[in-house]
């Protein structure tokens, strides 16, 4: 009897710490099971250098993370997830006024500049997107815009065309830099939803997160290729990005 009592008291003595230990061990597993959100949108940045080493920089950021972290940054013109744009006014460009004007107008090309030095600028609104296309060429270079081809195909087309028609021009083509920016108008609206002198970056990111897979920025020049895009993947693979083509 006394042995039985002793065994019982022994069991009750050792059970709570072991239960507590088991609970502590299993707690993080329960946490992980709940913390795998689906449908997250990721902002990707990829910079590929064309030098001999082929330096590559890839950044993958969940848009929701940027939304939550931006308000925590209070430095210079960035406060509470909003950026004051008075500095841009000082330089003679009222960015807000420009965006407001574009927002209120129909689809079309607003700005077309063909510079003497081969610098072409095109700003347009098309299919719910604000498009900015800049080509900067130090030499005489033809510029093509293929709406349904991806950037690499465009480059290959440009190069093949230059090589075939004007072999001596191929070297000049290498100095061309292309910048393409494509921003959904709903994001522009969200950016402008704050006070007159500020852009609401958090609202812009929130709106960006409901967009489909989109390439936002593409820069190609002789030294680097830069791409910024959003999709639902958390990787920055070589064949990732809207359209799935290698860029």
């Amino acid at each position: 009897m006394s042995l039985l009592l002793n065994r019982t008291s022994l069991q009750s003595f050792k059970t709570p710490p072991l239960l507590l230990a088991a609970a502590l061990l299993l707690a993080p597993l329960a946490g992980y099971a709940q913390s795998t959100p689906s449908g997250d949108r990721w902002l990707h940045v990829r910079v590929v250098s064309t030098d001999s080493k082929g330096e590559t920089v890839c950044v993958n950021v969940p848009l929701e993370l940027a939304e939550k972290v931006l308000p925590a940054i209070n430095k210079n013109q960035l406060h509470g997830g909003k950026i004051t744009i008075d500095k841009l006014d000082e330089e003679g460009v009222d960015l807000r006024a420009v965006l407001e004007a574009v927002r209120g107008s129909k689809d079309g090309e607003f700005v077309t500049v063909n510079g003497k030095d081969g610098e072409d600028v095109r700003v347009a609104k098309q299919g719910g997107f604000l498009l900015v296309h800049v080509t900067d060429a130090s030499g005489h270079v033809a510029h093509h815009h293929h709406a349904n081809k991806d950037s690499q195909e465009k480059d290959q087309d440009d190069k093949k065309s230059a090589d075939r028609d004007h072999p001596s021009k191929a070297a000049v083509t290498a100095n061309v830099s292309h910048v393409e920016v494509k921003i959904p108008m709903s994001v522009v609206d969200a950016l402008l939803s704050g006070k007159k002198d500020e852009l609401d970056l958090v609202a812009g990111l929130r709106m960006l997160s409901v967009q489909g897979d989109t390439e936002l920025v593409s820069v190609k020049d002789e030294e680097n290729t830069v791409r910024v895009w959003i999709d639902s993947k958390n990787t920055n693979g070589a064949v990732d990005g809207p359209g799935g083509g290698t860029r």
């Binding site: 002793n6 022994l10 003595f13 050792k14 709570p16 710490p17 072991l18 507590l20 230990a21 088991a22 502590l24 061990l25 707690a27 993080p28 946490g31 992980y32 913390s35 795998t36 959100p37 997250d40 080493k53 082929g54 330096e55 590559t56 920089v57 890839c58 950044v59 993958n60 950021v61 969940p62 929701e64 993370l65 939550k68 972290v69 925590a72 940054i73 430095k75 958390n234 990787t235 920055n236």
Partner: protein, 145 residues
């Protein structure tokens, strides 16, 4: 004899709880290997749970200095650590430059920094919860001035 057994079980229980708590909080790891003559090899494994406890023992003046120096980044680090824990394991930043390779990633609730060079390897792992705790601790210390 029974008393001895109870004491023994108490110790075993305490060790089990401490061990479980340590593993739950994770381990902060710093590994540095230099592959050259007289290169150093540093391997530090520290229970993450011990870091906030150790901060309690730090001189208050040093804590306030640490807060002042990192004041701008503290809320950002805390927000990033808090939010990153909600996303699946991912490579956040990757830089490749010839033989050099740097990655910043999340893995099992920890942030991982891996630097690989031909003559040096550096690996740092820090649980996100620890970053949150440390920044929280520093902020509270600052409020208590």
């Amino acid at each position: 004899m029974i008393l001895l057994a109870k004491v023994g079980l108490g110790i075993v229980g305490a060790v089990a709880v401490t061990g479980a708590y340590t593993f739950r909080e994770g381990v902060m790891r710093v590994d540095v290997d230099e592959y050259r003559a007289n290169g150093s090899h540093v391997h530090v494994w520290l229970p993450a749970a011990a870091i906030p406890m150790a901060m309690q023992l730090m001189p208050r003046r040093d804590m306030q200095k640490a807060f002042r120096e990192g004041r701008e980044f503290m809320p950002v680090a805390r927000a990033v650590a808090h939010e990153l824990g909600r996303f699946p394991d991912s490579v956040l930043v990757e830089v490749k430059d010839g033989d050099e390779h740097v990655t910043i990633s999340t893995h099992h609730g920890a942030i991982r920094i891996d630097v690989s060079q031909p003559d040096e390897q550096v690996h740092v792992v820090c649980p996100l919860a620890t970053i949150e705790d440390v920044t929280q601790e520093l902020a509270e210390e600052h409020r208590g001035i």
